[in-house]
Every structure is written in structure tokens, then in C-alpha cells.
Symmetry: C2
Subunit: 289 residues, 2 copies
């Protein structure tokens, strides 16, 4: 994990426009939003799926960087005053606090464009067919029927009580779509996969994406701002429906554990190449931050 | 022009998620931001360039829709309180006034993702190679070294006096990049072009993009809110450097006319297929709104 994280930090530094390139303040804000923090869960999933298909590390780096830039942009916009209005992220002031709102807005917008630019790089794949497929996967996951749509449902749900299926629907979009895309992009970086195996990986990604969110809800209610590097207890303060508010902490943890088991079952019958994916399911459910 | 505009309105209606699809408010805001207004200058340029290369109309529709969605998202974000803080656009309340700031932010984000999703559509091009090139052109034009970067320079320049080259640098990014992309995308929708002709078209697009902005500055200072459908006189009120503030209205108009001539010269030697591009250069410089 540490190796992939270090490798990604270097790749992201290289793939982001340099801080000396005009417009400098914008590029500095983009780098601030992406570099020097985060668990890099999505890149880790991308690399782990790439292991299954013998994907070249450089292609995985680019795919993982594209996903991470979409993720970083969503955090920058989510933290804006008109959204969650948060001041702390990854242990640092949020982008609009460090810079200003307009710069944060444009940095988020630019990170989204850069993600697609990276995946559209000339020569990324030997065959441009899978490359177009990767662009399609990322665009669908990021848009109104994926991550951005999930954030809109989140906004509408604040202060309401959701049923478990409604909560799941929200998180399948808000968090799940991009996590699933991370796994699928990794799997598209190598040799073409048997559709039946792709289906199993997709099932794995679905379960892991939900488990990630259940644990996020648990940590928000049980951990501290210092450990998380972002404001803890925010869900309850903002009256957001969560797995903890709906199920209570004990049943929420049981649900995460069940999703972990389901994600591992989805991979049964796939050989040792799936080892890292299995380990990441464990990491996602047992993490403390 | 009317034919292409009508055709585009239908295409955009079809390509945007329906207002009944969840999350409904987000999809309604996206449709509000895109439909029922605008001159559709970028789609017109895309179709006109497509005429040169015998491009199939359905592919042009998709490419033009992708560009128009990037343009519409940029207007939604540009109108937000933390940017230009405007309340009128295309003769209607701006998106965040009609909906709310958070919804407008997410509608803009989703429109950007949708633009790339459209260009990544399975089967858009018979050969995925040019399709990846189209995605690359749009991503570069939209990002921090294109349109979004231009908006950042615009922010930094407010209240300052720019030199003519600095003003041009700003507008080549802010407006020019996407206008150039519109022309290049249209040219990529058909048979492969001779690089020398592509170079001429690119030169045409550069001049037309600048001319568009010079006239925009003239209209902002000389026309009325009723005619423009957006707040007139905003540049002077916000102390933004413009071609009018720098050159005065007479020299600004002469500069636009010179750019129109340069754009037509760039096309000299290209046969009748360039007729619509020539007409659009005339339209862009003589338009009254």
C-alpha cells in the first residue's frame, strides 16, 4: 500500500500543471487540493484490479490519477459554503479557505477537465477502443447519474429520515460510483477480461463501495477531528441520514462486515491475482481514519 | 443557421437526462441551463466545419452538444455569487436564482461530465482513434490551460489595466479555446483532413474566437440588457479590462473587422465547403446580441 501511495504522490505531482505555469494561483490551488494527503483508496483499488490483468504500471498511474482528480474536485466543491461549508480537509484548511471561493470553484472545474484529459492522452493505450471505454466509465461515474447525482440526493435528504434502500441508493451514487469506476478502470488497463470475471469484479466493487461509506458514517460518529483530518460529528450536526443514524453503531458495523464478506465472496474462484483486492476490502472495513 | 439551431435544440433535449429521472431537481436544473436560449454559436461553428469534411450530421450533433454543455456549465458557474454574481442570463433568471447555489454548482459539474460522456459514446465514430482525439481536444479546451484558466485570469485582472497582449492572452483562453475546439471537433467528425488545411482552419478559429470576444465587449458597453438577455454594462461596473476600455469603441470595432478579414483570409484556397465558416465569421462580427 505504501509503495502505491508513494508512487501515486509522484505521479500526481508530475501530471498536475506546475505551480509556476500561468494561471499560477489556479494551478497552485489544484495542487493544494490533490497533493499531500488522502488515503488514495481509489488509486489503491485501481492498482489492485490492474494486478489481475497484468496492466502496465504507467497506464495504471494515469488511470488512478484521473480517478483521484475527480475525487479531489468533488471534495473541493463539496466543502464550499453553498454545500457543506467546511473548513478542514485532510488536516489542512479547505481549498476555498486557503485560497478563495472563486479559485476553489475553478480549481474543481479544472481538475475534472484534467481527469478526462489524462485518460484521453495520446498513446495511453495501444488500442484506442479500450481507451474510449475508460473515458466512458469515468464520465458516467462522475456525472448526474453517478457521483454528482449522489451529492444532489444528499442535499435533498438532509434533515429527512431515509429508508435503508433510499440511503443505499444515495451512497451507490455518491461514493459507490467512483469506487466502482476505480476498480473497472484498473481492470481495463490490461488484457481484455472475460465478461464473467468482469461481472464478479464489478460486484466486488459495489460491495466495497458501500462498505467504505458505512465505515465513513461510523468514523464520523465515533472518531475525532484530529484522527480523521476532517470535521468529525458533521453528519449528526447537519442532520444527515447515515447508516449509524438508521441502524445504530453496532448494526452498522455488522453491515460493513457483511459487505466485506460479500465482496470477498464475489472474488471466489479468481486466482491469486485478486489478493490485493481482498486485502483492500479488509483495509476499507477495518480502517481507523 | 435557423435549421442548425432547431436541430440542436432537439438534440440537446434528447441528450440531456429527462426531467423525470432521479435526481429530478438536478436534471431539471441542467435542462434549464442548456435549453431554450443562446445563439448556439459553438454548435454552428462545429456544423460549419463539419461541412468541409462531409461529416455525418448525427456525429456533428453529438460533438456540438458536448461543446454546448461545456459552454452552458461555464455560464452557470460564472454567474454564481462567488464569481460574477449575476441574476440574468439568456433573458431568464440565472440557474442559482431559479434553483439554488448548491444545485447550480452540481448542475454545472454534471454538465461537464455529460459533455465527455457524450463524446465517449460507444460507436460515435467508426474508428475510436479520432474519437480519443476529440475527447482530448475538448478536455484541453475546457481545463486550466483553456477556458477555466481564462476565467481565473479574468478574476485576477478585475480592477487592473492590462496591455493589449495580456488582454488577448486572457481571451484566447476564456472564450477562444472553446470556440477553437468547436471548429476542430466539427473537422474531426468526417474524413481525415490534410494537416495544412487543419492548420488553416485552426487559424480561422483563432481569429473568429477573438473577434467574438471583441464584439462581446462592444455589445456589453453599447447595447441594453433587454436586447442582450444578460446584464449590460457589467464590464465597466465591475472594472473589467476589455477591448473597449483599452482601445475605445471605434478602434475595438476596427479590430473586430480586421479579425474578420484575417479569419476569411485563413480560409482562402479552401473550396466552397468553407462557405458556412465564412458566413459565420460575418455573423459573429455583425451580430447585435
Amino acid at each position: 500500500m505504501g509503495q502505491v501511495q508513494t508512487r501515486m504522490e509522484q505521479a500526481l505531482k508530475r501530471l498536475l500543471p506546475g505551480p509556476e505555469i500561468a494561471p499560477q494561483r489556479l494551478h497552485q490551488a489544484m495542487r493544494y487540493a490533490v497533493l499531500g494527503g488522502g488515503k488514495r483508496v481509489r488509486p489503491l483499488l485501481c492498482f489492485a484490479a490492474g494486478q489481475l490483468v497484468g496492466a502496465p504500471p504507467q497506464r495504471l498511474e494515469t488511470a488512478a490519477a484521473a480517478v483521484e482528480m475527480i475525487h479531489a474536485y468533488s471534495l473541493v466543491h463539496d466543502d464550499l459554503p453553498c454545500m457543506d461549508d467546511d473548513t478542514l480537509r485532510r488536516g489542512k484548511p479547505t481549498c476555498h479557505v486557503e485560497y478563495d471561493e472563486a479559485t476553489a470553484l475553478l480549481a474543481g472545474d479544472s481538475l475534472q477537465a484534467l481527469a478526462f484529459q489524462l485518460l484521453a492522452e495520446l498513446g495511453l493505450c495501444a488500442d484506442p477502443g479500450p481507451q474510449v471505454a475508460m473515458l466512458r466509465i469515468l464520465a458516467q461515474a462522475a456525472g448526474s447519474r453517478g457521483m454528482a447525482g449522489g451529492q444532489a440526493i444528499d442535499l435533498e435528504s438532509t434533515g429527512k429520515t431515509l429508508s435503508l434502500p433510499e440511503l443505499e441508493f444515495m451512497h451507490i451514487h455518491k461514493t459507490g460510483a467512483l469506487i466502482r469506476a476505480s476498480v473497472l478502470l484498473g481492470a481495463h488497463c490490461g488484457d481484455a477480461l472475460d465478461p464473467a470475471i468482469l461481472e464478479r469484479i464489478s460486484r466486488y466493487a459495489h460491495c466495497v463501495g458501500l462498505a467504505f461509506q458505512v465505515i465513513d458514517d461510523v468514523l464520523d460518529s465515533e472518531s475525532s477531528t484530529a484522527v480523521l483530518g476532517k470535521t468529525a460529528g458533521k453528519d449528526a450536526a447537519q442532520q444527515k441520514p447515515t447508516y449509524v443514524s438508521l441502524l445504530g453503531p453496532i448494526k452498522a458495523k455488522e453491515w460493513a462486515e457483511s459487505l466485506r464478506m460479500q465482496s470477498r465472496e464475489a472474488l471466489s474462484g479468481i486466482d491469486a491475482g485478486a489478493g490485493r483486492l481482498r486485502e483492500l476490502a479488509d483495509f476499507i472495513v477495518t480502517r481507523q481514519f
